[in-house]
């Protein structure tokens, strides 16, 4: 089985936000929630870089470790998913997540945040694959259809890569060696415990 990862090649990202839009549309993400966002560092200065970030589907995911009701599970593809039926909206996964991925429909409303929502790697949730219930709670399940997450699939500069960790790391390494530079695999050290040696 593959070990699915995301990789954003910051030297290619043009901050077009198409991944953000694609995600919202494909998964019919509720109003106010963004499963993916683009963050620009050093905006307007030399060396500016933009990085598209969502849940990284961490190794030994901190969110899963701290959840008081243990509602997370990791699929055979190493995608970190959760059950909205079990979530009590306590916010702990948000404290633990290094990437600010978990989102709540009602942040700030008396601590009753509602069911947590986050990037599913376009892999749905615990309901049967392709079912209506699964789509309504978690959005699309492209992985079950043999497709990769839409954000990465439609990235116009192919900055955002999704797929087996080794494959996308290889693609990134080749890019860096061909063009002679690369600002690194953002978040990999934190999420997976090792970055890509280039």
């Amino acid at each position: 089985m593959a070990r699915m990862k995301f990789l954003c090649d910051a030297d290619r990202c043009i901050e077009c936000n198409a991944c953000v839009t694609a995600c919202k549309n494909e998964n019919e993400v509720p109003w106010g929630i963004n499963r993916r966002r683009v963050v620009t560092l050093n905006d307007g200065k030399p060396g500016e870089r933009s990085i598209s970030m969502a849940c990284m589907h961490c190794t030994d995911a901190p969110c899963a470790a701290v959840c008081p009701v243990n509602c997370f599970y990791t699929t055979a593809d190493a995608v970190v998913l959760h059950s909205k039926d079990l979530c009590i909206g306590c916010g702990y996964c948000f404290y633990a997540c290094p990437f600010g991925a978990p989102q709540y429909p009602r942040v700030g409303n008396f601590g009753s945040r509602g069911k947590m929502d986050k990037c599913t790697y376009c892999a749905g949730g615990p309901e049967p694959d392709g079912s209506r219930a699964q789509f309504e709670k978690y959005g699309a399940n492209r992985l079950a259809e043999g497709k990769l997450p839409l954000c990465a699939e439609m990235c116009s500069t192919k900055s955002l890569l999704a797929g087996d960790g080794e494959v996308i790391a290889q693609i990134y390494k080749e890019r860096v060696s061909r063009r002679g530079y690369g600002s690194g695999a953002w978040g990999w050290q934190t999420a997976y415990g090792a970055t890509i040696a280039t």
Binding site: N17, I51, C67, P68, C87, P98, G100, G111, S112
Partner: protein, 330 residues
Amino acid sequence: MARLFARIRTIAAAFGLLIMVIGPASSPLSAQVDPNASAVQEQQLLNQLKTIQGLGTIPDTKSYVLEHPAGRDWQYFHNVTLRWIAGIAILGFFALIVIFYLVRGSVKLESGFSGRKIVRFNWFERFVHWMTAVCFIILGISGLNITFGRPLLLPLIGPDQFTAWSEWAKYAHNYLSFPFTLGVILIALMWLAGNIPNRTDVEWLRQGGGIIGDKHPAADRFNAGQKAVYWVVVLGGAAVAVTGYMLMFPFYGTAIDTMQRAEMVHGVAAACFIAFMLGHIYIGTLGMQGAFEAMGEGTVDVNWAKEHHSLWLAKEMERESKPVRPVPAE
């Protein structure tokens, strides 16, 4: 002439094209241009700031934080350190109380009950005490559920039941925090006067409070042990209330790292609070004969007051025996 020009133009254009095609690949210049020279580097930013923040284009400004690896440290604290601290504090204190009970037994009323009663806590004081106490117990159980429910209770009752219970526990925890906080504030105000440490406490402590040993050191309305309970309730209550509200109102003047720290303080303070209150509950019920009545019915036996709060009893007696106004002879 015109043809010559046309030919030169063609040659020049072809040459130009040739340069354009092979130029970039063979030009030594392009290899020297490093568009990454001034680019931000992840590791460098993390070393400097511990969290990486930028700018975004969506309204949710907290999403502009790209990465904060401290989440992993918080995870370790919550899952390992806090469980050890809370477990040792609460179970350890509980074990001490059990051992103490087995060795010392209940503190008996030596002079027996006199049958005469004296008012110790009026209805308002008792109401505030029990309101705070009931809230405290529910808050304590629902709080412990967040830290220990997953390893202890979840395997017993299954995920669906556990979620149903935890969701109610969470609501109870959030909403009962308000009467609890009110209770702590009222306790702080109404009993402050009797709880300022003074010299009597030193002597009381030196004599083991009468609980270790059989002496009955003098005490005013509150002895040193009760003063300790007072200050634990006031300071511990303030600590859990402040940090708790920081967590209940996320991002109201807090960022993710402040909330992580608030949770740490909240957890440790609450665990110590619970451990200490076990001692209070023990002495108020099993540990001392005649003590429960004080908060139960509000009155205590005069002999009990004489043994445990002699100075207070003396003052009360004096106040009672003094007539409000001398009755003139007819």
